[in-house]
Structures are given as C-alpha cells and as structure tokens.
C-alpha cells in the first residue's frame, strides 16, 4: 500500500527533514508515527499525501510512484487519500456540513449525492446534530472530528492524520483514536503521526519512530 525506499526530503533552505527512510505499510494496517518535535513526522505525512514531492528515493502509494508522477496527475492521487492536518485547516467561512462537502465538491460530485455522503460522514464522527454550526463555534475536539469527517468523506483507501489529538483532553483524544480504529477495522490503511505515548502503550500498534529525519 505504501512503500518507501531510500526516501529523502530536502527543503529549499537545504535542510534535510527526511534522510534515507525505507519502510513498507501493507493495506489495512494501522501505523503510528512518532518522534521528537522536528523529527520529520509532518514532512513524512505530507510526502505520503503527495503534498510534498520527495527529493530523493522513491515512494509508492496505492501502486503509484509519487516521485515519477506528473504534477498534473497529483490532484487525482490526493483524492484517494484522506488527510487530517496538524492545524486542521478547516474553512471558517462556511458551515460544518459545507466543510465536509468540500472534497466531494472538488471531485465534481453532484450536490445531492455529496450532501448525503457528507451527512453520513458527520454522523460517523458524531456531529450530525451540528451540521449547520460554523466551525468557530465548535470545541477543539469537535473541530478535530469535523476535520476527520472531511478526510474520510471521499472514502479514501489511506487515511493520514498529523497530530490529531494535539491540544485535546484525554477523553476527546480517546474518542478520536477510537474513530481511527473504526476506520481501520473496515479496511482503511491508517497512518497517524502523534506524540501521544499513552495510546500507543495501550493499543500496541505498529510504530515507526523518527529521529532527526531517520527511521529508528
């Protein structure tokens, strides 16, 4: 599902955030990505999400070699991936429902179908009652679940989440992790970058540990 070999990422300033990283994540796995702040977690997630393009090595996601793809092909790759951003990136000028409909809208789905799908996704994260709410009026945990609903609404094969429980109290965090476990149970490959050692200790998932851009 996700195969990285000798993957590296050097930012324009010259800093190498990912150094010679190789791993394989098979379909349906749930993998946690940990490491100190600045270790390169966000960078690796963005590489998998094809938001950043690798400067070295190769990365194959869903059978497509991201480093070999043309720029114009990237949007279509991204549509099969769900991404929960570290800073959520919700759109504050529209309702929760419209936020969730946005990816479907981008994919050109007719409004009626999109509406039904978006409501199902909101229901899944327990926010259907708040579909008309503006994101700013939602609590941190609710915003995070809204971001997850947006990430899963296009039924991705791979769900990527970057620090999804940052700033959440333990209960909200547990709810979020439970959600990921649910998606994983129905076959979605899940990659979660997190500092949260508690959850890792409890559920003993597969862990990839980054240190200064290298895989330990």
């Amino acid at each position: 599902m996700i195969v990285a070999s000798h993957l590296s990422q050097r930012y324009p300033g010259g800093y190498e955030a990912i150094k010679d990283v190789s791993f394989e994540i098979t379909a349906g796995q749930m993998v946690f990505l940990t490491g100190h702040s600045g270790a390169g977690k966000t960078t690796l997630v963005k590489l998998i999400a094809s938001i950043e393009r690798p400067t070295g090595g190769s990365l194959v996601v869903n059978g497509q070699n991201l480093s070999a793809l043309r720029r114009s092909a990237l949007p279509y790759v991204r549509r099969h991936l769900g991404m929960v951003f570290q800073d959520r990136k919700l759109l504050f000028d529209r309702s929760a429902l419209d936020n969730v409909m946005f990816p479907l809208h981008i994919a050109g789905m007719p409004r009626r179908d999109a509406l039904r799908r978006a409501q199902a996704a909101l229901d899944k994260v327990g926010l259907l009652a708040r579909e008309k709410a503006m994101p700013i009026t939602l609590s941190g945990g609710e915003q995070q679940r809204l971001a997850i609903a947006r990430a899963v609404v296009n039924r991705p094969t791979v769900l990527l989440a970057d620090e999804p429980t940052g700033n959440l109290d333990p209960e909200s965090a547990a709810a979020v992790f439970e959600l990921f476990a649910d998606f994983n149970r129905v076959g979605v490959t899940v990659v979660v970058a997190t500092h949260d050692q508690d959850w890792i200790a409890r559920s003993r998932p597969r862990v990839l540990r980054l240190d200064h851009g290298r895989l330990l």
Binding site: A49, R79, M83, K89, G108, M109, R111
Partner: protein
C-alpha cells in the same frame, strides 16, 4: 461529462455568489469598468451619428463638367449620350449662353459681363451621381475627365473628403481610447481578482491539498472576471443610451434651427452585446493574468 458540467455550473454560481457577497466592492468595480467602457462606446456612437449626419447633410453630391470652349453641339450630344449611360445618375445641361445670362443677372457683375468681348463661359453639365461615396465620386470624376472635349471636371465635394478624413481620424481616436480604457479594465479586473485570491487563500490552500486541479481553482475567477466585465459593458451601453436621451431634445432643437431633422441614434441591442462581449473578454484576460501571477505562491 456530468461532473464536468457540474464543475462549470459550480464555478459560475460561485462567481455570482462572490459578486453578491461584496455588493459595495462589486458596485464600485462595475462603475469603474462601466465608465471605462463608456468612453470608447460613446465615441463609437458619436462617430456613427456623425457619419449619418454627413450622409444626410451632403444630400446631393455634384460633379461639374466643363466642356472645352470650342466644343460644338455634336460633342455636347456625345457627352449627353455618355451621361445617360451612367445608371441612376441625374444631370442637367447648362448652356454657355444661359450661364452668361445668369451671370449678367447677378448684382454687380452685369457691367463686367457687358464689357467682355465674347462669352468666356463654356458649356457645362451638372451631374448628381447615384453613389455619393467619396471613392465612387473620385472614380467617376476620373472617368468623365477622359471623355472627349471635356476641359475640366470639378468635384464639388472637397468637404466630403475632409469630412471622411475627419471620420477616419475619429475612428482612430476611438480605437486608441478603446485600447487605453480596455487596458484600464484589464488592470481593474487584475486587481479585484488579486484581492479575491488573497481573501480566499485558506480555501485555495486546502483545495489544492485535497485534490483540486488547477482548473478547478482558476475557473471561478475566470468566470468572475468575465461576468464583471460583461456587466460593466452592459452598464456602459446603458450610460451611453442615457446620455443620448438627455441630448435628444437639444439636438432636435438645433437641427430644427438649421431647417433639418436629425435624431441621434442610440446604441442598439447589437452595440450593447458588443460592449458586453468586449468587456467579458477583457475581464477574462485580466482574470487570467491575475490568477496566473497570484497563484504562484501556492506552488
């Protein structure tokens, strides 16, 4: 196909929504664009009316044909023959004796005419050609000048030529104005779109990261630019029409003083469509330039 149609409809709807979302901005932009298009639009309508005026006022164009002084009846008959061959043209013969009599009848000239040893005037024809266009007149003049025993052909339409040259100059000025104000329209659109891209930076950033194509992101801005330009064009047509309506009464009065009747012709539906299409095209161009530049920072 359905997805493609949906995307275009979505882009158009979102363009309209953006126009409606900021009514004051929209109104100001439309005014600027409308006024920018009013200037060349008004120039065009003015030239159009002047051309009509020129056509009406000149009424009959005349060519005066003077025979050589020794031309006899036979030669005159030959010329008459040839004039008859000019389809649609009217002409009248002015015999040299008649011309002299008329001269004698004029105040103050009688003495001079009486002192002349013999009639210095030639036989002449006054021709009113059917086609009074400057080029046609000039061609006819050349042709007649080549006829036998014709001494001189005079086009009584020097002013027609001058008027025509003036109209050509006017047309050039109009195109210059159109160029300048069209450039202004592109600049205004460029700026509006740039501000919009800035205002929607968050949406654009997210859209890109979750699978929006370049076309998806650009399309609403193109529609917006074109829509704004087209509406500005319609506004310009309205402004020109309004100005003409204000001018109608005074022009009528003026025409009455000169014993004529002349009504200003306003911009018709076709003119309005041309203005709207031109505005739309320029708006699209401005949006294209702006989006290409503004979106660079998202790469």
């Amino acid at each position: 196909m359905i997805a493609w149609l949906t995307q275009h409809r979505v882009a158009l709807v979102s363009a309209f929504r953006r126009l409606a979302a900021m009514p004051l901005n929209t109104l100001l932009s439309l005014l600027v664009i409308g006024i920018a298009l009013t200037v060349p639009g008004a120039a065009y309508v003015l030239l159009d009316n002047l051309r009509d005026l020129g056509r009406n006022a000149s009424g009959v164009q005349q060519i005066s044909l003077f025979m050589q002084i020794d031309a006899g009846k036979k030669e005159v008959a030959e010329i008459e023959n040839r004039l008859r061959g000019l389809a649609g043209s009217q002409w009248r013969f002015v015999a040299r004796d008649d011309a002299l009599k008329r001269l004698q009848a004029s105040e103050g000239l009688a003495d001079i005419v009486a002192s002349l040893p013999r009639n210095p005037l030639p036989d002449a024809f006054v021709v009113e050609p059917s086609d009074a266009g400057p080029e046609a007149l000039e061609m006819l003049r050349k042709e007649i000048a080549g006829w036998p025993k014709v001494a001189h052909v005079q086009l009584d339409s020097a002013w027609v030529k001058r008027f025509d040259a003036f109209l050509r100059l006017g047309k050039l000025v109009m195109w210059l104005l159109a160029g300048i104000f069209g450039g202004g329209l592109v600049a205004v659109t460029f700026n509006t779109i740039r501000l919009q891209v800035l205002a929607q930076a968050a949406e654009i950033e997210v859209a890109r990261m979750i699978g929006a194509t370049d076309a998806f992101i650009r399309r609403p801005f193109y529609y917006f630019g074109a829509l704004q330009g087209a509406l500005g064009g319609l506004l310009a047509a309205g402004l020109v029409a309004g100005a003409l309506r204000l001018l109608a009464a005074p022009v009528d009065e003026l025409a009455g003083l000169y014993g004529g009747s002349f009504a200003l012709a306003g911009p018709g539906p076709l003119d309005a469509a041309v203005l709207a299409a031109g505005g739309g095209l320029l708006g699209w161009l401005g949006a294209q330039l702006s989006v290409s530049l503004s979106l660079r920072k998202f790469d």
